[in-house]
Amino acid sequence: MASQQANRLAAGGLIDRTTPLRFSFDGKTMTGYAGDTLASALVANGVKLVGRSFKYHRPRGILTAGSEEPNALVELRSGARREPNTRATTIELYDGLDALSQNRWPSLGFDVMAVNSLLSPIFVAGFYYKTFMWPAKFWEKIYEPAIRRAAGLGRPSGVADPDHYDKAWAHCDVLIVGSGPAGLAAALAAGRAGARVILAEEDSLVGGRLNSDGGEIDTIPAAEWADAALGELRSMRNVRVMTRTAVFGVYDGGTYGALERVNDHVPVPPKHQVRQRLWRIVAKRCILAAGATERPIVFPGNDTPGVMMASAVRTYIERFAAVPGKRLTLFTNNDDGWRTVESALQAGVEIAAVIDARKDVPARCKALAEDDGFALYSGNVTGVRGGKAGISHVDIGLANGRRTTVSADTLAMSGGWNPSVGLASHHRGRPKWQAEIAAFVPDGCPPGMTVAGAANGELSLGACLRSGHEAGASAAADCGHAGAKHTAPAATDESVAIAPLWHVEGKQKAFVDFQHDVTASDVALAQREGFESVEHLKRYTTLGMATDQGKTSNVTGLAIMAQLTGRSIPQTGTTIYRPPQVPVAIGAFAGHHRDENFHATRLTPSHHWAAERGAVFVDTGLWKRAQWYPQPGENDWLESVSREVLAVRNGVGFCDVSTLGKIDVMGKDAGVFLDRVYLNAFSSLGVGKARYGLMLREDGIVMDDGTTSRLAEDHYYLTTTTAKAGPVMQHLEFCRQVLWPELDVQITSCTDQWATFSIAGPKTRDLLREIVDPAEDLSNEGFPFMGVREVQLRGGMVARLFRISFSGEMAFEISVPARYGDALARNLMIAGKPFGVTPYGTEALGVMRIEKGHVAGPELNGTTTAADLGLGKMMSKKKDFVGRVMAGREALVAQDRQVVVGIKPLDKTRRLRSGAHIIPRGTMVGPETDQGYVTSVCYSPIVGQWIGLGLVERGRERIGEIVRAHDPLRDEDYEVEICNPCFYDPEGGRQRG
């Protein structure tokens, strides 16, 4: 099998030759080894063409060997696991891996859309802003659909992601980002000092460039040193090494976002395991040792397959034992690029030539060329010949003005190194220019962060180790771990001399942003049109907005802009670095919280019992509530609900109302406290009594309502609506702790403590007499309306009984400790059997409250006042309370406000719908005649028709008026009568009787 791997070296590399792996790319089956990436396996198999660019669909090869790759993006896996835009350079090879190239049709080799390249004289930066405007309707019909068809790179699966994700927290003293020489040295120093350390490495291997660049540390080969360092780190209990973990963002308070690719290196995650895990790492100190990214040079034809970063060539040779070509040319402006020549020579690759753009090429390099007999040119690459199969020749403009050509199948380029400043700039710190390395280095780091090694512009191995060691030791010391002194690992400081070179002019297109096809001439066009700010340049040309976020393009782009405008590079400045530093799957940010687990679910104490009876449940906030209980033979919900309503009105029913917020308000000032919170008085409420209360916001608008009882002199029991339980609790705590801290009040939620059922209907007492201890007096005198007390139940149970009514019927609420809620439901069924007891759901509850004209959520909508709701008279005039003053503003007491009224269609067979608007009869429909709307509706089996509540301008003066319910959304318009909101027993005799 290995024989297929034409470009695989016979020996060397960090691959496991005993584990061959089969994979396919665009349907072609190939072989690689464990330890390969998809990119290295493709290199080993001699594959040059791997993708097409976004705009011009130009053929592209592998450019890099890391997460900055702009070209080699593939659709990985198939079916529901298909994953677009995945970098071949970071995919670990596994057996059976399948990948497809993307953004091409019908095939990678022959792509119809490559015609765009022919139109490139017109398709320049921002061309679409100048055209596609006439005729206007063509945009929607023709232009935009065409543009949208061309949009995007890879195809998403289009079906639900079958894998799982989770999220976790980690805490440490020192977080080290990157495990290259600086990161390892930092981890050793901090770990030995005793600090809690997390070393995060995005690669599957630690070592960073040590795995690609060779060299010696402490007199042993660098890779061996890295192994030993890892061994020591793994032996320390205070150090946690996290590979395959990319730190992607820096947030406030020392919180770092990181993504662990737990199972991306296997075909399918094992059962019970996640694909990826999102970490929030809380660190007192962070050492950014993320290294640097080699940058391309912008020269004509620089996007031809076979043009590769010099460091990537080295990585493929040294780490993966795969050579990108047989005949290599190097184009460099710095010493570091020359290391690729050394690497290639050792691997037996023929060096066609080296083109060094510098005036003075170091003698060491000259000697190398001489010894190994390859041509060394002082000049620039001015063109590349070849095509989608790769380059064949390199055209060179010599420093002396002449031209020459060399044949080569690989062109390695090195424009210098850009420190990875991204994470250091996430708090909007702007990096500063460092002329010696012709690159930006971090400045103004987030609090707690220091930068070490190449990320800080220290490009030699020796400097990396020293700065890493120092940063590690001092971060540990900052966290109180001084530890014994150790010396930094030692290595030579090889030369990294550079003479900046950004752009070589020529006839062919010279690419700045490879993926987005932004060329040097696009930058020039932007400059001509005044888009000189780097942010304008980015937005106008889309430079740096590709999936690599400009890691390979930003600095060159702005350097070219600097040249064009005559400003310096630091004057030109950088764009803002934004998280995530590497793209992160949306699924990972969601973790467990998807599908049914999107939000938590709250269940009532009688949930199980209701489910047994076949209840239909409805979501009310986080709660599941029984909406109605269908019975055999019922055709629809309305039949069930009407049955439940009539059963209550004529007999007795019960409903679980445990979802209402319940709050113990205790302490000697509890009454005074409630006086200030509610617009009506509570300190005057007698023990053993309940009262309806209304709460305003400080802006005078109604916040919530509910019944509050006084259980003892210093103990009130307050209830809220289901929806507002949380906000009211928070508000009460604010009042207690901030507004009136002098009051002796303690507040505790007891919502979940009690199972509470409303028992309603004329036969309520009959039912209760079955279950309540016969010694308890439930008569109107013994237990009057709005009375509250504890009672004994038969069978040895104690309950709280409240004589309050939401339905307008004779009713009690009964509460038992929640563990008995299920039993209470079952026992109420037994006790009520002789009276035809009927459990009812929220829908019947709603019908009865509308019949009674009680306001609820749709009327308490955050814009209504007490007076709007018909409850203005409740407002106390003797005390201050929250919202009192602001409720008096002119527009809130205006006569023409929309107020709550009843509404019923004239045609009794007509269904009334919520959201219909109220328009006076005989007027044109328009904003000026829109006088309100229907807030709540139900079919009332008692009234025998659909009825509703509404908010209508001057409604209370208009009882009896016929108006239109205008409902264009549902194509309806019908006449309705404005009526008293109470449709049932307006005198209230039934609930008091």
């Binding site: 308070g253 919180t255 708090h427 705590e733 604010f734 702790q737 901030v738 009192r884 602001m886 008096g888």
Partner: protein, 108 residues
């Protein structure tokens, strides 16, 4: 963001909810007659409820540790950098006793 609750220790901001500027104080209305309090109270409440300095820089603000100990906190924070300079408990957390005169002075 991480807020060091004086009772619970440092926690991520997801455990807290935010109310806003702690500088505006609710006007104190001692006596109410026929639904009305002091002269000019509507202006005072308008300022309290609606007008904000909206500080760009250090600001004292109310946060509620609802996902923890249910304490209201006064957090001094820089709105330009999100740096937290101090965290203190609101005067009435726990069983704390507040000097009524001081409390009134603080709310007037």
């Amino acid at each position: 963001m991480r807020i060091a609750c004086p009772f619970c220790g440092e926690r991520e901001n997801g455990e807290f909810t935010y109310l806003g500027d702690a500088k505006p104080k609710r006007p104190f209305v001692a006596v109410i007659e026929d639904g009305k309090g002091a002269e000019g109270e509507q202006d005072a409440f308008y300022e309290y409820v609606y007008l904000r300095d909206n500080v760009a820089g250090e600001m004292s603000e109310y946060w509620y540790h609802g996902g923890g100990c249910r304490s209201w906190l006064v957090v001094k924070r820089n709105t330009l950098t999100h740096e937290i300079l101090s965290v203190a408990a609101a005067p009435g957390t726990g069983a704390a006793v507040v000097d009524v005169a001081m409390a009134k002075a603080g709310t007037e």
